[in-house]
């Protein structure tokens, strides 16, 4: 079942520059979908359509198979269902303390303060930030800020989490902590949409990949299919995952028998190498 879908969505900026062109994007329930594209391809613009912040110039956005309507009441429900975690946590964390920031969404939903407090504690625990309730955001590290930003969305109990570049600007440990959180959410059945240009991470978590370039989806499918089309990937100013690139070089330059599809993760490459050594 598609929980999030765009049908031929096009969007022009107020000055007339086209930003999105006939975008068809689907996310099925419980899947992790990656939206891969270079800088300025329209990833963030597309995301802002998912919860009705931007309205498509033409086309339709569907959440749980109902087209988005843009009246006040409906839009509140959509924003509760589709939670967006912004790229720069400083844009998102505005409240003077961590707890107050996480409480912001649930309070806006009109929940009872007791329930809000429960949700704040619960979501901070899920991202491993319990004990930081009273800290101001400017005393946190980048990774911690990002986790608080995720907690702020989790506290609204969304059905779909949309994350704009969740690992950009983080150190390796910070990035892997974020991926762990996402992994757990995925196991609990959350639908997750991630935009990124970190191609090495995509095959690790995504079951479906979209490649967007100049406001247009140019390729979609499983990571195997998408990264199998090396030419499209490179034309979109992206690259293969390092592992796949290594395999490509080994095949083309050193005539080793590593055929397409190239392994995309360390695990796959290891299996393939071991198998080759045995032969």
């Amino acid at each position: 079942m598609n929980v999030l879908e765009t049908k031929n969505v096009s969007y022009k900026y107020p000055d007339g520059t086209p930003a999105l062109r006939d975008v068809n994007f689907n996310a099925s329930k419980g899947e992790i979908v990656a939206l891969l594209g270079p800088n300025g391809a329209g990833k963030s613009t597309l995301f802002l359509h998912f919860n009705g912040i931007l309205r498509p110039s033409s086309g339709q956005v569907m959440v749980e198979n109902t087209p988005l309507s843009y009246d006040k009441k409906a839009i509140r429900q959509v924003r509760q269902k589709v939670g967006i975690v912004f790229q720069n946590p400083d844009d998102q964390l505005f409240a003077p303390t961590v707890a107050e920031d996480v409480a912001f969404g649930p309070l806006n939903m009109g929940l009872h303060p007791d329930e809000v407090e429960k949700r704040v504690a619960e979501s901070l625990k899920r991202v491993g930030m319990e004990g930081f309730e009273k800290k101001p955001p400017h005393h946190l590290s980048g990774g911690q800020k990002k986790r608080v930003a995720i907690a702020g969305i989790l506290a609204m109990r969304p059905e779909i989490m949309v994350l704009d570049e969740p690992t950009s600007g983080l150190d390796p440990k910070g990035a892997s902590q974020i991926l762990h959180i996402l992994h757990h959410l995925h196991q609990e059945g959350m639908t997750i949409v991630i935009s990124t240009h970190d191609v090495d991470l995509v095959p690790l978590y995504a079951s479906q990949v979209y490649i967007i370039s100049e406001g247009h989806i140019i390729k979609e499918g499983t990571p195997q299919i998408v990264f199998g089309d090396v030419e499209t990937i490179r034309n979109a100013n992206l690259r293969l995952p390092r592992i796949a690139h290594l395999m490509e070089i080994l095949q083309k330059k050193d005539d080793l028998p590593f055929d397409k599809p190239y392994p995309l993760t360390i695990g796959e490459a290891r299996r393939k190498l071991l198998k080759h050594l045995e032969e």
């Binding site: 844009d91 107050e100 309070l107 009273k134 702020g152 609204m156």
Partner: protein, 262 residues
Amino acid sequence: MFENTLDNYAHSNGLRDMNTFFKVLFAISTMLVSLISTSPVVPLLITFFMSALIIFQAKIPWKFYLKFLAIPFIFGFITFIFMSLFFGIGAHILDLGVFNLAVTEDGFNLGLLLFSRVMGGFTCMAFLALTIPMTELFSELERFRIPQIVTELAMLMYRYIFLFLDEGINMYHAQETRLGYSSYRKSFKSMGMLGSNLFIRTWIKGEQAHLAMESRCYDGSLRTLKAPESIRSIGIGKLALFVSFELILLICVYLTWNLRIV
């Protein structure tokens, strides 16, 4: 960065866990006593007492505290000099011998009173600023029925001051790296560019923050989780101590009503 250390101390000091309302009450009533005193004795007493509290109880490093006090001290001292030279009539107690300038008894007393009130009031303020995190002050403001729009603005400003400073400092370093401040002329030009750029950046950041808030169902009013501590948790003992302290100060004010230093 000065602002940052101030904020750090407010978040971790020896008096951090004391009831916020009590601290606010204490600082403000002491400040009021300092202001109604007509002799410099009580305000000066308050200055020393508050400083002792800040340094020994709240454990703020004295070096930092003195730096913090330096600005109001210089300001108060200059006022004192001007007051004693240009205000008041009556007996001259010191003739400077130039331009007919002289310190009058009246002026000297007035200047000293002003100086002591500045210091007394400011140390009370310092107590507020150094022992209470801004965030907790906001919830106290709500208790005092300050209009919500004011507290909302204060909350947002507090949060974004640090981002603004960061942004400004980063740009400043970037300009310095490319020798933007190597001469007076260049400094003025670079400063101007920094200012206008900061303005634009602030605008963009504000817009982005608004988008993020809208994504979380923002509808124009900031609701906060209100959980101000109950007044009961102050405890009878501390309350009694507080009341008797202020009473003693008031008695001192009464006793020194007509006391003049000169």
